[in-house]
């Protein structure tokens, strides 16, 4: 092989990327092209090298062969895709020209070469060889290029072929037949043209070349240069994809393997080919090195498990394959994050897989998302589940509310204040499922083999109103501290309640089962009827008659209740009991699988028995009567029993009723299934796959929620609804605008929702946020408030308005956002992107106006030792974390003060009778309010009505409080005192010790 084997030239200099290049290629990265990326050029071997070699060889004067690297023959790699260092990128054509002093020899040799090259054109007709031909006739080639530039559509030549190839690149997945046709056409045309012209042109070309060589001095170097100058116009780019395999084979065979030298990628990255004109430009400026393309390094936009998903490289030298026992897929990216610093952020994408994305990728994602939402005139919203939309408990006593729930629902017909209690089932062995299984689509068949625990979900009042209200204006995500399955089940429950369906999946199964049993019974009955018509003629007794009448009523009742009861276990227990009574067998234990079959089997037995008695023992009605009596409470089995209570009049009646039942049940079933499907669709529409759960983001821990996980660039269009702000504040990667340790401005805090009978009992997931208005519930000073509380305690008649407030806030936010930004657009043109007001800004602004002009004094709400923190916060407002209540007040636009004076408008007091409260009473115009007022204002971002939260006038109100509340308050006092004492002790210790 030639000395130029495996030739590749590395240019490590970082080149200033040209703007025009980037614009052409920029759609490939999906990244902003503002950043400079390192480029490594791919060059054809410079002529200088050749010259040197030639000169060396010339000294010897024996070897007269020289190699000229002419052009790229074909690219091995599709432009735009990734090449690895050392991979062969392309093959370059290399010519061997033997040079003698005798000029005729040269021309002869060239002619020979020419013939060699042309032959395959005529036979196989590939573009490569055509190019080779043209290379041999530079003048003609140039003319052709001019022609193509003038009439690019009509003439078929290399330029046209190139465009063909490019279109191919655009849709490489679908190799279209058009292109191959074009190719064939082109090839045939070239054939024709060549067949007609080559005799004349070749000779002409030979002459011109001869002239060239003649005009120059007889040095080989100049010959080479002349040829090289002529070369660049002939660019034959034959890419692998555009030519079908047989032709490729022909191409390679047409050129001797010796003539092809591989060009090896000097670096890893995206391969970019230079455009033809650019190549020419490059050549004009620099003869020596011909730039044919370049490799751009991969910026590693997305990293999965320590591996760049674009190029497959491991971007950092982290010890990724070392022991990381964490079965979550975050383990490696974690260590990676630490290693590579702030340029990478972790994102949990829909479906709950966490990847690391570079900042640019994150930005482009955010930008894309923002544009999309803006087009749809929507905003995104992140919802919490527990204590925000629902209260879930595993307390079995909650079952008592189930019946009430359905009755209530049926009566009031989707009244939103209905006590919506639903059940969900969750696997007991959560956490042990391996990640693979977690990612597999959940399959209901699979569920039956697992252990299940029943959970009760209480929907917050007005949750339907909220969801309906924001359906069209917000893109809803769910971010919960529960497990994935929990999140999915609860979203299903939400959707079902939104549609007003009272049945869940279990209910439907039960219904289906009932229908099946009824159908079965009917079939049996028909068979039996035929037999009876033959055998039995007459057997009537009054006892039987009354029995059956009673029974039918019972059946009706039972069915009704059964439909309404949603508790699956209860139902099954009942059914089991009934069956046991019915059959008088001792079979207590059923497997889940057997449940469907066993009753049917047993009924069959009964049939045979009953029929036989009817047939043979007409005088033994006891045996028959026993059964119906014991069956009195059963549902389907009894109805079947009646059919064999053998008198024809009744049979027809029963039949009719049964058929009606069956039809009714079937209808219900169909409706329920439809409803369920609709709920599924709704869920897909509402939440899509934007459900993020604890299991997805395990590495963050249970008490941290990070907005960046979902929105890599801070979520400028996202609002968050949660009952806890500490989880958001705990995230260490909050956007820079907020003080560290304080939650982001996007957060809309809501009042933690508790289902009153089950406060704090057996919560499934993390505890609720602290309700700072809670102390007011301890003191029953205010009558209205008292009423409020008691009504809240009544589980069927809750007065919780929070979600209506939230809906209102979100509505206002949406309006403001789009009102403002539309104006932006009209005034500033399309460049309004950068000037868009963000959601956090708007929320901040909204809050600022709520209590503007108010001056607040907080009494008994901030522990002593934290009051110093407030002072510190005033000194350096951007670094210190404020106590929540102070922050609430300040973010609502109110001023806070330490001392009560004339300027103060409200004194927010945890308890009456404090010093500040007493002073407040003496100042006219100063209102003494409970913290609930401040909190309601914060929760609803609206100045709450002071009236319900006013403390009674005068200290005389104190003795009214009852024993329980006073004890509560004493406890509260003690706590505060303890805190203060503890703080003092600590201080002493620190100072003295």
């Amino acid at each position: 092989m030639s000395p130029l084997d495996s030739f590749a030239i590395l240019n490590e200099q970082q080149q200033q990327p040209k703007r025009d290049d980037d614009d052409e290629n920029d759609n490939n990265y999906g990244l902003s092209t503002r950043t400079k990326r390192k480029r490594t050029e791919i060059l054809l071997p410079p002529t200088s090298v050749l010259q040197q070699q030639d000169e060396e060889e010339e000294v010897q004067e024996d070897c007269n062969d020289c190699f000229i690297v002419v052009d790229v023959d074909h690219w091995m790699v599709l432009p735009g895709s990734i090449v690895k260092k050392g991979e062969t990128v392309a093959m370059a054509i290399q010519k061997t020209i033997s040079i003698n002093n005798n000029r005729n020899d040269i021309t002869n040799k060239q002619k020979e070469l020419e013939l060699e090259r042309i032959d395959p054109v005529i036979t196989t007709g590939t573009t490569t060889t055509a190019a080779a031909v043209k290379h041999k006739r530079p003048n003609r080639r140039r003319k052709q290029i001019q022609q193509t530039q003038q009439q690019p559509t009509t003439s078929i030549n290399i330029g046209n072929m190139n465009t063909n190839i490019h279109t191919n690149h655009n849709i490489p997945t679908k190799p279209s037949s058009n292109n191959t046709n074009n190719n064939e056409n082109a090839i045939s045309l070239i054939k024709e043209r060549l067949a007609s012209k080559w005799m004349t042109t070749t000779t002409a070309a030979a002459k011109t070349e001869k002239k060239d060589t003649l005009t120059n001095t007889n040095k080989t170097t100049t010959t080479v240069q002349v040829t090289m100058k002529a070369v660049p116009s002939s660019i034959s780019v034959v890419t692998k994809p555009s030519t079908p395999p047989p032709t490729t084979a022909a191409t390679t065979s047409s050129i001797k393997p010796k003539d092809l030298i591989p060009i090896i990628a000097p670096a890893t990255g995206f391969l970019r080919m230079m455009q033809q004109q650019q190549q020419q430009k490059q050549v004009n400026t620099n003869h020596r090195r011909r730039l044919i393309g370049y490799i751009e390094e991969c910026l590693h936009p997305t990293i999965l498990e320590g591996m760049c998903v674009v190029c497959g490289e491991r971007p950092t030298t982290t010890t990724t394959t070392t022991t990381m026992p964490n079965n979550n897929n975050n383990s490696n990216t974690d260590s990676l994050l630490q290693h590579t610093g702030p340029n990478l952020t972790q994102v949990t994408v829909s479906g709950g897989i966490t990847m690391t994305v570079s900042q640019q990728e994150g930005q482009s994602m955010a930008q894309w998302d923002a544009n999309r939402l803006f087009r749809q005139q929507r905003l995104s919203l992140v919802l919490d589940l527990d204590h925000t939309l629902v209260h879930a408990t595993s307390d079995v006593r909650a079952r008592n509310y189930l019946g009430h729930n359905t009755n209530h629902n049926n009566k009031t017909n989707n009244n939103t204040s209905a006590a919506g209690v639903r059940t969900i089932r969750l696997p007991l062995n959560e956490g042990t499922t391996d990640p693979l299984q977690l990612q597999q689509p959940s399959n209901h068949l699979h569920h039956q083999q697992q252990q299940w625990a029943q959970h009760y979900v209480k929907l917050r009042p007005h949750v339907n109103d909220l969801l309906r209200g924001i359906e069209s204006t917000y893109e809803v995500s769910v971010y919960t501290a529960g497990t994935k399955q929990y999140a999915e089940e609860v979203t299903m429950v939400l959707c079902r309640s939104l549609l007003g369906s009272s049945r869940d999946w279990d209910d439907i199964e039960r219904l289906r089962y009932q229908v099946q049993v009824l159908q079965m019974a009917q079939q049996q009955q028909q068979q039996q009827q035929q037999q009876q018509q033959i055998i039995i003629i007459n057997d009537t007794s009054k006892n039987d008659n009354t029995n059956t009448m009673d029974n039918t009523e019972d059946i009706e009742n039972n069915k009704r209740t059964n439909d309404q009861i949603t508790d699956r276990q209860q139902q099954h227990e009942e059914e089991e009991k009934e069956r046991n009574r019915d059959i008088n067998d001792g079979d207590d234990e059923y497997d889940n699988d057997d449940k469907a079959h066993q009753p049917v089997k047993k009924k069959r037995k009964k049939i045979s028995f009953a029929v036989s008695t009817v047939e043979h023992t007409e005088h033994h009605p006891d045996g028959e009567n026993d059964n119906p009596i014991t069956d009195a409470t059963t549902t389907t089995t009894t109805s079947f029993h009646h059919t064999k209570s053998d008198h024809n009049n009744m049979i027809t009646k029963d039949e009719e009723e049964e058929e009606e039942d069956l039809e009714r049940l079937q209808q219900e079933l169909v409706q329920a299934v439809e409803m369920e499907q609709a709920a599924h669709r709704l869920r897909q529409k509402l939440f899509g796959s934007r459900v993020y759960s604890r299991t997805d983001i395990g590495d963050l821990g249970q008490h941290v929620k990070s907005l960046k996980r979902i929105f890599p660039c801070g979520g400028t269009m996202a609002a968050v609804v949660d009952d806890r702000e500490d989880v958001w504040a705990n995230a260490d990667d909050n956007s820079d605008t907020t003080i560290k340790g304080e939650p982001p401005e996007n957060l809309l805090l809501v009042r933690p929702y508790h289902w009153q009978p089950f406060v704090g009992f057996a919560d499934i997931n993390n505890p609720a946020g602290t309700d700072l208005s809670e102390p007011k519930q301890g003191s029953n000073n205010n009558n209205t408030n008292n009423n409020n509380n008691t009504s809240n305690r009544d589980p069927y008649n809750e007065q919780d308005q929070q979600l209506l407030w939230t809906r209102d806030i979100l509505h206002r936010l949406h309006q403001q956002y789009y009102y403002h930004n539309q104006q932006c657009k009209t005034t500033r043109g399309t460049s309004g992107n950068r000037n868009r007001r963000t959601v956090p800004e708007l929320l901040k602004q909204m809050r600022q106006t709520v209590l503007q002009g108010c001056t607040l004094v907080l009494s008994g709400l901030v522990p002593l030792h934290k009051q110093q923190a407030i002072a510190a916060a005033e000194a350096s407002p951007n670094t210190t974390v404020r106590p929540p209540i102070v922050r609430f007040a300040q973010s609502l636009g109110a001023k806070t003060q330490d001392k009560v004076d004339e300027t103060v408008t409200h004194v927010v007091a945890a308890k009456d009778g404090s010093e500040k409260a007493n002073i407040a009473r003496t100042i006219p115009g100063c209102l003494l309010v409970r913290p609930g007022w401040l909190m309601e204002s914060y929760w609803s971002i609206r100045k709450a009505n002071v009236q319900p939260y006013l403390m009674a006038q005068g200290p005389a109100a104190i003795p009214i409080k009852n024993a329980s509340s006073s004890s509560n308050r004493d406890e509260k006092d003690d706590d505060d005192d303890d805190d203060d004492d503890f703080a003092l002790e600590l201080e002493d210790e620190l100072l003295n010790g």
């Binding site: 759609n27 990734i82 679908k174 190799p175 994809p241 997305t302 999965l304 897929n329």
Partner: protein, 179 residues
């Protein structure tokens, strides 16, 4: 790519398992332990094909526990992704950054940068799918795609590969049942 290879594995058997059917117990234990496992160098063990009885040699008793360690040779059917291998995979999940596809137990991620250029901005969050600019190609979960493996990483018990569909003859093969 699937291939068959003979491998070694150590089985720790408790004394309770010793009995007349010890060998078959060992085979059972081996299958339980090994099948579905991803071995760093060899890929996924899809199936234990054969455990030659004569290869189960007498074990060594651990002094501390009384358990016996058997070294077992077996032949297994392995699934290992090779770089530049072309595979047909089933799309399992699409997200904003690309999509995940499965080939049996092997999970392959295809980034949006590894998709054809007309699909780069084709993420449709409503349908959870990637759609090309001309709306002809829709990749959503359940679809079959042909892809080329570009890299892989082995973690304990799990192999993740990355793939590309940006090449000729790669891309959507099958619309899937729903599509």
């Amino acid at each position: 790519m699937f291939y068959v290879k003979s491998l070694k594995h150590e089985i720790v058997a408790q004394p309770a398992l010793f009995g007349p059917k010890l060998k078959s117990t060992i085979v059972r234990l081996l299958k339980e332990e090994v099948e579905g496992l991803a071995l760093a160098e060899y890929g996924y063990v899809v199936n234990v094909i054969e455990v030659p009885e004569h290869e189960i040699k007498s074990g060594i008793i651990e002094y501390d526990t009384g358990d016996v360690v058997f070294s077992v040779k077996y032949t297994a059917l392995l699934l290992r992704p090779f770089i530049n291998e072309v595979l047909d995979a089933v799309v399992h999940q699409c997200n904003t950054l690309g999509f995940f596809a499965f080939v049996g137990p092997l999970r392959i991620f295809v980034s949006k940068h590894s998709m054809p250029e007309d699909m780069l901005n084709g993420w449709n969050p409503d349908k959870d799918s990637w759609i090309s600019d001309d709306k002809e190609v829709v990749i959503s979960s359940g679809c079959g795609v042909r892809l080329r493996i570009k890299g892989r990483t082995v973690e304990q018990g799990n192999i993740t590969a990355i793939g590309t569909i940006k090449d000729s003859y790669l891309g959507l093969m099958d619309e899937g049942e729903e599509g």
